[in-house]
Symmetry: C2
């Protein structure tokens, strides 16, 4: 009853220069990521290369992991697009169980593809894998579970469990292996197990 007509991304009042700097920092981070890898990327280095102050970097992203979470968010947008309004069975239109299976496969692929950023986006102080990552998966899985009409006692916790069951093997895999070999084979193995798991859980 007061905000005029600003349904855009920026929640409210991110100043133009701030937005510009954020974009610029993200772009610079990607460059550095591409040429040196994630763990040598320091806040000072990023600030200097971007030609900005260190304080600015922290103001934008809060924490080191925050940068990678922001990058992952960015990459995830296209993925979410597919999930929310792409073609079935990933997008709407297919039966919930098919979508669940399809979603697991897609997410596994996405995370393996973006493994370096995903890994760096982890942070000991915020136990959940990444800022955006869990909510989306969990919400989507929760929604599909609702559509399935299961007679489980607590769909919310079940959604958390399944989300964890999807991410768990990936995290283990991302941390253990250096991913140089047979990424596809392991991905397929996890995808297969995901399918088996959800089929077991959802059959009546």
């Amino acid at each position: 009853m007061d905000q005029p007509v600003v349904p855009l991304a920026a929640p409210r009042g991110e100043r133009a220069d701030a937005a510009r700097n954020r974009l610029h920092l993200l772009a610079t981070a990607r460059e550095m990521l591409a040429e040196q890898g994630a763990d040598t990327l320091t806040m000072d280095g990023l600030a200097e290369r971007a030609g900005l102050g260190k304080g600015t970097v922290f103001r934008r992203f809060g924490t080191r992991a925050g940068i990678f979470q922001a990058l992952l968010d960015d990459d995830e947008r296209a993925f979410q697009e597919q999930v929310l309004s792409g073609p079935p069975p990933l997008g709407p239109g297919a039966p919930p169980l098919d979508r669940l299976i399809s979603y697991g496969r897609a997410r596994i692929g996405f995370l393996i593809e973006h493994r370096e950023i995903a890994r760096a986006a982890l942070d000991g102080s915020q136990l959940v894998p990444a800022g955006s990552q869990t909510p989306i998966s969990q919400l989507h899985i929760r929604m599909l579970l609702g559509q399935l009409g299961l007679d489980a006692p607590d769909l919310d916790v079940l959604a958390v469990q399944l989300t964890a069951a999807l991410d768990g093997p990936l995290l283990l895999y991302l941390s253990a292996t250096d991913l140089t070999e047979a990424a596809a084979r392991i991905a397929e193995r996890i995808a297969q197990s995901w399918q088996d798991l959800v089929c077991r859980v959802c059959r009546r």
Copy 2:
């Protein structure tokens, strides 16, 4: 064909002074933990209070999280005892499915009880919750799955999935709430969901 007869705990050659210092550091850490909480415990502080050099602390535990992992390991010993040779249904003797349900309940209780240490034992660089924590759970679950004679395609990955499904809600819970209220209620809710999940997965 060469090592004489040393089947003791210390793999080989942890010097007496080293062992003594490790114990002393662990004890000191527990004191500090009790009186100031986990996040104000610094490596320097621990070293100073223990009357040892900082280098020693790092030599023993490698990393800050390592200290908490060591403490958790220590606490976990009694728990493992119960699982490996305590009375059923947690210990051996009960049907595998009952043991699986019982194990989940016990682990939830254990982790909630030791929440502060468990939380501090997490570390962004080693994605799995804690040094000891995952292996034990996973191995045990894997074993029980084997005894169940499921026709799943990949019991190893299934074990990882279930371990994650057990830990996931806990981590979420440990990070979000400050646990001062209704710990028991939430624990019960997670335990209930765990039981439901494994029943769904294991029914034929």
